[in-house]
């Protein structure tokens, strides 16, 4: 009996000692990797993580960002940063939030990256915010537009940044465009209730639209992966809206636009950057997409020389015109490279400080200056679909 107790105490002491040793070891590992200026294994490479939607429901976004990143890293590595090359470690989050969290933990603890790029959607980025803050590793989302990613309840997430503008801006721009350019008086809103992105855009659209004197006549919702929207659309049709705001992702949006046109709902439909995918045109069909508009980060049809140079380089590598996700992936690599260069070291905390001070950085998607919330202040492009092609309509400044 006594022997057992002694053994118990002994084992628990051993366990505690082991735990403490483990913690100490980790801490030491962390500081030493920071000290020698290369979490990414030291030497001549700086490891960067990319946690992207390479498969799953919104795989087209993740793959587009990866293409942009690859092109940018190729260009950056020609000269290198302070004599070092950047190396990209990609993980696939399968378009799921839980996988995104796992991916971030893996990148930080196993691959020892100095920063993480990703994910494409707001929901999957939000799933990584806690991990990035706790481990003090910068996280930059190229396209996550939900405001709470960088700023939650008035408190800035110190280690989280983004390259794109935020949802309220997109929703507000859409509302202004509907009121001033399309001259509509009432609108219906159809949202994806399983997406933070969709809800965020819809909320700011409703605010700006009603403040501008418009009226919301119908509000309906669907859930991602639905395929039949005819019943909901019939309900919207009976409210006689002049305009439909549809902030969602391309898979469902494609089906909704197609089914709306079949039911004779021929009013203009508008959405955000979530529409931007070649799959949208395949699913909805060219004719159904006429008279639809989106707000986007950039347009390959913009005559700006910086944009045209990028379009040329992208076409040379991938043999297609770059979409906004390609451009933002490309820009994110430059955004991070610029910060690493200015930080003068690959210490994640120093990179974070340099990122926060980014000012007047010339990128493909506009001139980037970060505000105090780590959100870029830059312009939005409005595009119109004509026979399945995006046409540059106008540029709106904040």
């Amino acid at each position: 009996m006594k022997k057992k107790r002694v053994a118990g105490v002994f084992f628990s002491l051993m366990l505690t000692a082991g735990l403490m040793a483990g913690c100490g070891g980790n801490q030491q590992g962390g500081s030493s990797s920071g000290g020698n200026g290369g979490g990414g294994g030291g030497g001549d490479v700086i490891k960067i993580g990319a946690n992207l939607e390479l498969s799953g429901g919104v795989a087209s976004y993740g793959q587009s960002i990866a293409e942009g990143l690859d092109l940018a890293l190729e260009e950056i590595n020609k000269e290198g940063i302070n004599g070092k090359k950047l190396e990209l470690v990609k993980v696939d989050n399968k378009s799921e939030a839980a996988e995104a969290t796992n991916g971030a933990i893996k990148l930080i603890s196993q691959d020892k990256v100095v920063a993480i790029i990703g994910s494409a959607t707001s929901t999957n980025t939000l799933a990584q915010v806690q991990v990035a803050n706790d481990n003090k590793v910068p996280l930059i989302t190229p396209t996550g537009t939900n405001p709470t990613i960088t700023n939650k309840d008035g408190k800035v997430n110190e280690f989280v940044f983004r390259t794109c503008f935020i949802d309220p801006f997109q929703g507000t721009v859409a509302a202004k465009f509907a009121l001033n350019e399309l001259k509509v008086k009432n609108a219906a809103v159809l949202i994806d209730s399983s997406s933070d992105y969709s809800k965020g855009l819809a909320a700011s659209f409703k605010d700006a639209f009603t403040q501008g004197g418009g009226k919301i006549v119908a509000e309906e919702a669907y859930v991602a992966k639905d395929t039949d929207f005819r019943a909901t659309l019939t309900r919207i049709k009976s409210a006689n809206p002049e305009f439909i705001f549809l902030p969602g992702y391309y898979e469902e949006v494609g089906l909704i636009v197609k089914q709306a046109r079949e039911l004779g709902l021929n009013v203009p439909i508008m959405g955000g950057d979530g529409w931007d995918s070649p799959k949208l045109v395949e699913i909805a069909g060219k004719d159904a997409l006429n008279n639809t508009y989106i707000t986007n980060h950039y347009s390959s049809g913009d005559p700006d020389p910086k944009i045209q140079e990028f379009v040329k380089a992208f076409k040379a590598k991938y043999n297609k015109a770059p979409d906004a996700f390609n451009a933002l992936g490309y820009d994110t690599a430059y955004f991070l490279a610029d910060a690493i260069k200015r930080a003068g070291s690959a210490d994640p905390v120093k990179i974070k400080d340099a990122l926060a001070k980014t000012k007047d950085l010339q990128l493909v998607s506009g001139t980037l200056t970060l505000n105090e919330n780590h959100d870029p202040v830059k312009s939005a492009a409005i595009l119109e679909y004509k026979d399945g092609q995006q046409q540059f309509k106008t540029k709106v400044n904040p």
Binding site: S55, Y222, V223, T227, A231
Partner: protein, 292 residues
Amino acid sequence: MELIQQLVNGISLGSIYALIALGYTMVYGIVRLINFAHGDVFMVGSFVGFYAVTMLGVGFFPALLLAMASCAVLGMIIERIAYKPLRHAARIAVLITAIGVSLLIEYVTIYLRGAQPEAYPSTLLPDRNLELFGVVISSQSLFILGTSLVLMILLQFIVHRTKIGKAMRAVSHDAEAARLMGINVDNTISATFAIGSALAGAAGVIFGIYYTKIEPLMGILPGLKAFVAAVLGGIGIIPGAMVGGLLLGVIESLVSGLGYSLWRDGVAFVILILILIFRPAGLFGKNVREKV
């Protein structure tokens, strides 16, 4: 007018459920097996049709036949490999195997071609909208309803008027006694799976045409809904599956039409629970007491 439009929407949604439920209920009726892989055979059929059209460049009917034939073969392979060795095992073992087979088909498809969606070519069937007093009916939904009805009648004919149908009914009644009477039970069950899976394949192609977007996990929800439809009509009863499917589609459309679109799937499964509690044999089923 809105109500009539919602009924039309519901019937076209329901015809798809009915089409999948026909194969489901048939396999259950003969082998007493809830084949959860049925929805995934439906998905495979959809992809076979898609690749037949885009890569081989064939028209609608050859694509449909190709999808039905490949699904029939797939169904027989599944039965031989996964279900036959378990024929005398407990029901629960077979059910779990069915779920395993379902996941296997889904993820093998993802492994082979990735998880990204495909869009069916829109030129496969003429798509015209008929407008009657403000109600829009698409020619495709009429076509789907027609196909479901024809297949149901064909199925009834096979089961009640042909030799293989007679064998199926005998096996369904008592497999051991049927074997003693000289019926080849294994072949009969294979034929059942072949016919049921071919129906799923046809439903897959038609789903692709009507809803455009197909992807490797598309079979899960329609598969479950078809199961609800089959139980609603009385599992194992062919006209029951048809009525159950249509009824489920109409109920879902009406729920969405009342503004509760987020409750739609929930209502479908509440119906399943209510049916199982109050009328386990389904609308068309008779409560037969098990003979001792």
